[in-house]
């Protein structure tokens, strides 16, 4: 078996190796901008859900309001109003 000195000499030899040349600048910037837009979209999502929830609540509320308004201006309501005025 080779000893530790051999291993160290091998490592010293390996240190002189030059790595392959890379140019990642373009791809990094592209990844960052893609990530940025994903984050922005993610940030918009809660607002969309909030808008959907508020409209889901608002639509029945409006329907009920219209129904109450119609009921309150009906002939039966006017008669009951008149009776209550007489009894007072």
């Amino acid at each position: 078996m080779k000893n530790e000195r051999f291993l160290e000499a091998l490592a010293a030899r390996a240190r002189s190796e030059s790595p392959p040349a890379v140019d990642v600048a373009g791809r990094v910037i592209a990844r960052l901008s893609a990530q940025q837009s994903r984050i922005e979209r993610m940030a918009e999502k809660p607002l969309l859900w909030l808008a959907a929830a508020s409209s889901a609540v608002a639509v029945p509320a409006v329907i009920i309001a219209i129904m109450v308004y119609n009921a309150s201006t009906g002939p039966l309501y006017e008669i009951s109003q008149a009776i209550s005025w007489v009894t007072q």
């Binding site: 078996m1 490592a11 030899r13 190796e17 392959p20 140019d23 990642v24």
Partner: protein, 233 residues
């Protein structure tokens, strides 16, 4: 006594007799002055590039992609060198280099300019590389390496061996160890880091680095011993 021509070596001492010792001292003085001038120039250049770097970091934090591109271009060869120890697959290596710069951008706000930017980046690179090894280990993707192959290496000095082959062999040999052991031995052997530098790069304490190195070496010896027994059979 030596007489120097008045107009040659020391034009500032016209027609004077200068002893050999004095002359040597004066020469040393001139050389040291020249050295100090070149050191001053180097220092000035370093300061200028450092100031430019700090400015690029500041602009990058504000989202200036051109400034970050400049930072990447300045440091990518250094980071590529570090990550070449973690993966020798060109595609994976490039992906890891990209990961380092993406991660660095995301945590750029935490860079406090207490250490040079490349030191900070090398810490991130080590973390990214180590994470990659841990993922590999989880998936049981160890590169094949037969210790018989190691034993067949000529006993002569590896200085004559091709640097790429030496690095490849060491990479695969250390790949037989657990990521933690592999990391400490890669930094100590392949990167040639001392204890302090290894501690800085890994984020471990110095004593932890020492203990970990010792354990990793023992495990490597054990690996060799096991292979030796297998070879004898």
């Amino acid at each position: 006594m030596l007489s120097y021509p008045s107009n040659m070596v020391f034009p500032f001492l016209p027609g004077r007799l200068v002893s050999f010792r004095d002359g040597r001292l004066l020469l040393e003085l001139v050389y040291s002055l020249m050295d100090s001038e070149s050191i001053a120039e180097d220092r000035q250049q370093t300061n200028t590039s450092l100031a430019a770097e700090i400015e690029d970091v500041r602009l990058s934090r504000k989202g200036d992609s051109d400034a970050y591109t400049r930072l990447i271009k300045r440091h990518q060869s250094h980071i590529s060198r570090i990550l070449w120890r973690f993966s020798r697959d060109k595609l994976v290596h490039e992906e890891l280099v990209q990961d380092v710069f993406v991660e660095a951008y995301m945590s750029l706000h935490s860079y406090r300019q207490e250490a040079p930017f490349d030191h900070w980046l090398s810490r991130i690179a080590t973390r990214v590389g180590y994470r990659y090894w841990k993922q590999q280990a989880r998936r049981h993707e160890t590169e094949s390496f037969s210790l018989a192959e190691w034993d067949q290496l000529p006993d002569k000095s590896p200085d004559e061996m091709d640097a790429g082959r030496a690095a490849e062999l060491l990479h695969r040999l250390l790949g037989q160890l657990k990521p933690r052991d592999r990391l400490v031995l890669t930094l100590r052997y392949l990167e040639g880091c001392d204890v302090a530098e290894t501690a800085r790069r890994t984020g471990w304490t110095k004593s932890m680095v020492k203990v970990q190195s010792l354990r990793a070496r023992k495990r490597l010896e054990k690996l060799f011993a096991q292979a030796g027994k297998e070879l004898k059979r």
